[in-house]
Symmetry: C2
């Protein structure tokens, strides 16, 4: 699957359109950037300049997976909470359910490999659920590879399969989220390995571990990162996991290859997006970064991606919550791009 | 009119409610703060703990006025643009119209004293328009008082009159915006005078003046600030204006006195809110700060108000645009407060 570069021939006209709106040039700040990016992505896909940005059936897909390293106590919660939260998503009770409801977003949940699969009677919204299990949690990355190369390849393909029906059904904005006790450890390890940055500079407290647990977590991640030698992003995924990160990487590449916009959540999803950009560098043009999370490494990661996110609310929850909260800003960006008067329309003195 | 202090007896229960939701404590960052503030304001008004936050008929009121100091060239645009933009608001073509539409907000426009009033045939949405003129623009504050004390008193009363019908119609969230060529000069002068801060530390480029114009603007504001001696907020309004700032001050006090939440926009509206807090210190508890604008003095002003705004998108447009963009975050805060499962509900291991 090949992600094509964005054709920039429409950029000049898009910027002109924005600059002729009845406001001082640049006065809508980042909202202008995101309007320009959406207009460019959609014009590129249409093969002609589109005068109206559309945000069609935006859908959040949450990938859930478990992590062998969690058995060493790198998180505030035990692995069983991943499964409980998947049930909570399907029952409509989690934060992401609330934000999808308030912002009119469809929600899908993927079991990418939690330890114990749900029974049929536990799947309260079967229409929102996909089982794409790569296993019963990854191996402990501090001691061995998270998964096999075959699992990585299957996982990238599952990521694509999870979103293809959405795109066929005209979704043109994909929101990614994740759930997985221990997954800041896997994400931090991947980020450190890909950039060569010291683990110390990338590791954070996740959803809220103590100073003592952070020291332990750092040591485990350092062990995982130094366990092997590679700069190949696919091999790094295999070594460090997790199942949900692999599948999100596949989903990002597939969405970019289909030419649609992807709204990225916090640290874990950003790491998957970073891996996707390493595999297919043209992917970057399709990514919109929703927020800077409280997770310590996120700021550094965003600077590696040359990304300036829309929100900075001190979130550290995951699930796609930051991305869901940012969606109304994209709708407002589309609305001003599509319907705000130009100086000429309004008879305003330039 | 008296703004009563918030009764904090419900605070402990509200924080407990938030902490029992299925998420790590504090992991929704500022969204938790705003949920707690809304729940507290609404419980205070109801006289009992409310289990559901309601955001009812949110309405943005834009106050427009002209400024004598604009004749000295402190802005990128001439004063006639104030009138043109009021027409643009009533025709539905401005940025604030777009954001009100995308975020389901009612819009009202008040002529607080633009130079030339609109003719009846220019008022395209009469149901959205209020004429509450205090004059044909203020006097030039660099040389004389902006207005008389009678005008200030009438303006504070007009601000109250503008919002009273909304509150009677069950609006429980007021959004304030403004339009007025030259009004960053008036707002900066008020802020500097009230705090004693050097004008140099408060003044900015507004919607985009040059370095040379900024030097001139700074000198004019310094002249205005040093022209008289007072620390009385009402007298400072009289001396420095403008009509829209006075009316917004009145609207803020009246909304707080009625016990409803007020969503504050950028620098100019924040100055009006700051004056309101100087007149009635209890007002502060009812204020939610939507965004930090690009205007240089806003950060300092927000620190004086001990405020951490929700957005920081590099906006410098006014009109209430930042506040309108922040409203969906309040709706999401209400949604999670009202409907997110507790650990007990969801059977999630604490």
């Amino acid at each position: 699957m090949q992600v094509k570069p964005i054709n920039k021939e429409f950029e000049k006209h898009i910027v002109q359109t924005i600059n002729q709106k009845t406001k001082p040039v640049g006065s809508l700040g980042q909202l202008e950037d995101v309007a320009a990016q959406l207009a460019l992505i959609q014009s590129n896909k249409a093969g002609k300049l589109v005068n109206n940005i559309e945000i069609n059936k935006p859908t959040a897909v949450i990938f859930a997976g478990d992590h062998g390293v969690a058995e060493d106590g790198v998180s505030i919660a035990p692995s069983c909470v991943t499964r409980q939260m998947v049930q909570n998503f399907l029952a409509g009770g989690a934060a992401i359910n609330c934000f999808c409801k308030s912002n009119n977003i469809t929600l899908k949940v993927v079991d990418a490999g939690i330890i114990e699969p749900l029974n049929n009677d536990e799947i309260l919204s079967p229409e929102s659920f996909l089982s794409m299990r790569l296993g019963a949690g990854t191996h402990n990355i501090a001691v061995e590879a998270a998964m096999s190369l075959e699992q990585v390849e299957l996982g990238l393909s599952y990521g694509e399969q999870a979103i293809t029906p959405l795109i066929q059904n005209n979704t043109n904005l994909l929101i990614l989220g994740e759930m997985g006790i221990g997954n800041t450890s896997a994400a931090t390890a991947i980020f450190a390995k890909l950039t060569g940055a010291p683990v110390q500079d990338c590791v954070g407290i996740g959803t809220g571990i103590t100073e003592e647990q952070l020291i332990k977590k750092t040591a485990l991640i350092e062990k995982a990162v130094s366990r092997f030698d590679s700069s190949n992003p696919v091999e790094i995924l295999q070594q460090l996991g997790g199942f949900e990160i692999v599948q999100m990487t596949g989903a990002v590449i597939a969405a970019a290859a289909a030419g649609i916009s992807i709204l990225i959540d916090g640290f874990i999803v950003s790491v998957a997006a970073f891996v996707a950009c390493k595999i297919q560098p043209n992917t970057r043009s399709y990514l919109i970064f929703s927020h800077e999370s409280e997770e310590f490494g996120h700021q550094l990661l965003l600077s590696h991606l040359n990304a300036k996110p829309l929100l900075n609310l001190g979130l550290r929850l995951g699930e796609g919550t930051g991305a869901a909260l940012a969606l109304p800003l994209l709708r407002s960006a589309a609305e001003f791009y599509n319907n705000m008067a130009s100086f000429e329309d309004a008879g305003v003195t330039v």
